[in-house]
């Protein structure tokens, strides 16, 4: 089975997230609620679809809302959002080449994530989604180990 994309370089995102992780997670007032639920049950076949949809989720529904954030967190979010662009451009060709199918389960999983987000007021949902970025990145890393670069 040809895996697409073959690798995802998440290092830039991880570095940027580490810089604001503490401040963001400290601002999360709904500790007992999770937005990125069900990720662990995603099948390998649905990896590309869910990755693409979640990248889009963050770009469209999370990184845009910064007005109430501090300059330090806003800079961090800018850094992360700009690091997401190359990741999107890594996944986009897979969809173009029909190598990024979405099963019913994948579509349902991402719908649940969006409705989890909708249960909260926007600013609270943004903070929580930002705080769960390490869950998303760890999930991507687990499935897309980059091939070792040859010297």
């Amino acid at each position: 089975l040809h895996r697409c994309p073959t690798a995802m370089d998440t290092d830039p995102v991880k570095q940027s997230f580490q810089a604001i992780k503490g401040a963001v997670q400290a601002n999360d007032t709904f500790k007992n609620v999770t937005i990125l639920s069900k990720l662990q049950s995603i099948k390998p076949l649905d990896m590309c679809c869910v990755t693409r949809k979640l990248l889009e989720f963050y770009m469209e529904r999370v990184f845009k809302y910064r007005e109430e954030l501090s300059v330090q967190i806003s800079r961090g979010v800018s850094s992360i959002s700009n690091s997401f662009l190359p990741l999107q451009r890594t996944v986009q060709p897979c969809k173009a080449r029909r190598l990024c199918p979405c099963s019913e389960e994948a579509t349902r999983a991402t719908s649940i994530i969006n409705s989890n987000y909708d249960q909260l007021e926007v600013q609270a949902a943004v903070i929580k989604s930002l705080g769960e970025l390490d869950v998303f990145i760890a999930w991507i890393d687990k499935h897309y180990h980059p091939e070792p670069s040859t010297a």
């Binding site: 830039p12 570095q15 770009m59 800018s78 959002s81 700009n82 690091s83 190359p86």
Partner: protein
């Protein structure tokens, strides 16, 4: 706030070498006065989704010199825009925007300065420290016909690294290049440096 009578800074440009990015502009001159400047940036994400949003540069504003180290602002391999305004007392100029957005994949990569030495019979290399983004590929060999080249990836500069143990009477050489994973590029190789161990060559 101050009426924009002060002229806006002109000729903004980014000079980037080995992933260190410096924004410069032509100074605004008012005889006998010190002009201060504010720098803001916008990544490609902001220009696509939040075009009204500009972020203050990490480099502390206001700045008195007509240049600013924007290395810490540029954290992704995408396009970045910069704008600068001048301030004199309560007067603030209009913003002046970089004519062409900057992408760090255009940075100039120079071969690293190297120092190849011997520590007894050990071949050692030290490379200049060029900051967190740059790694080094070192190629080294024994100077003889059909020599086999070997290579070693060195993550940081500024430290001595053992390359190999040498035999008496033989000459050993090395060269190095910088690698930047974030932009998937490498520099040209440095000049070749050799060291030789005195003494008789070992019998075959």
């Amino acid at each position: 706030d101050g009426v924009a009578v002060l002229p806006a800074p002109q000729n903004l440009s980014v000079h980037s070498t080995n992933m260190k990015h410096i924004l410069t502009w032509s100074p605004v001159v008012v005889p006998g006065q010190t002009i201060y400047y504010s720098v803001q940036y916008q990544g490609e994400y902001e220009s696509l989704y939040l075009s009204h949003m500009w972020i203050p540069s990490h480099w502390d504003s206001p700045i008195a010199k007509p240049e600013c180290d924007v290395t810490d602002d540029i954290t992704a391999t995408v396009w970045y825009n910069f704008r600068v305004s001048a301030t004199l007392g309560s007067q603030t100029s209009a913003w002046s925007i970089l004519e062409h957005p900057f992408n760090r994949n255009s940075t100039v990569l120079t071969p690293p300065k190297t120092e190849v030495t011997k520590d007894g019979s050990h071949m050692v290399i030290e490379l200049e420290d060029l900051g967190p983004h740059l790694e080094f590929n070192v190629v080294y060999w024994r100077s003889e016909p059909d020599a086999e080249e070997r290579s070693k990836l060195i993550k940081n500069g500024g430290i001595s690294v053992h390359l190999q143990t040498m035999e008496p009477g033989a000459k050993y050489c090395a060269k190095a290049q910088t690698l930047v994973k974030a932009i998937e590029r490498r520099s040209a190789f440095s000049r070749v440096e050799c060291v030789e161990v005195e003494g008789e060559a070992l019998p075959l």
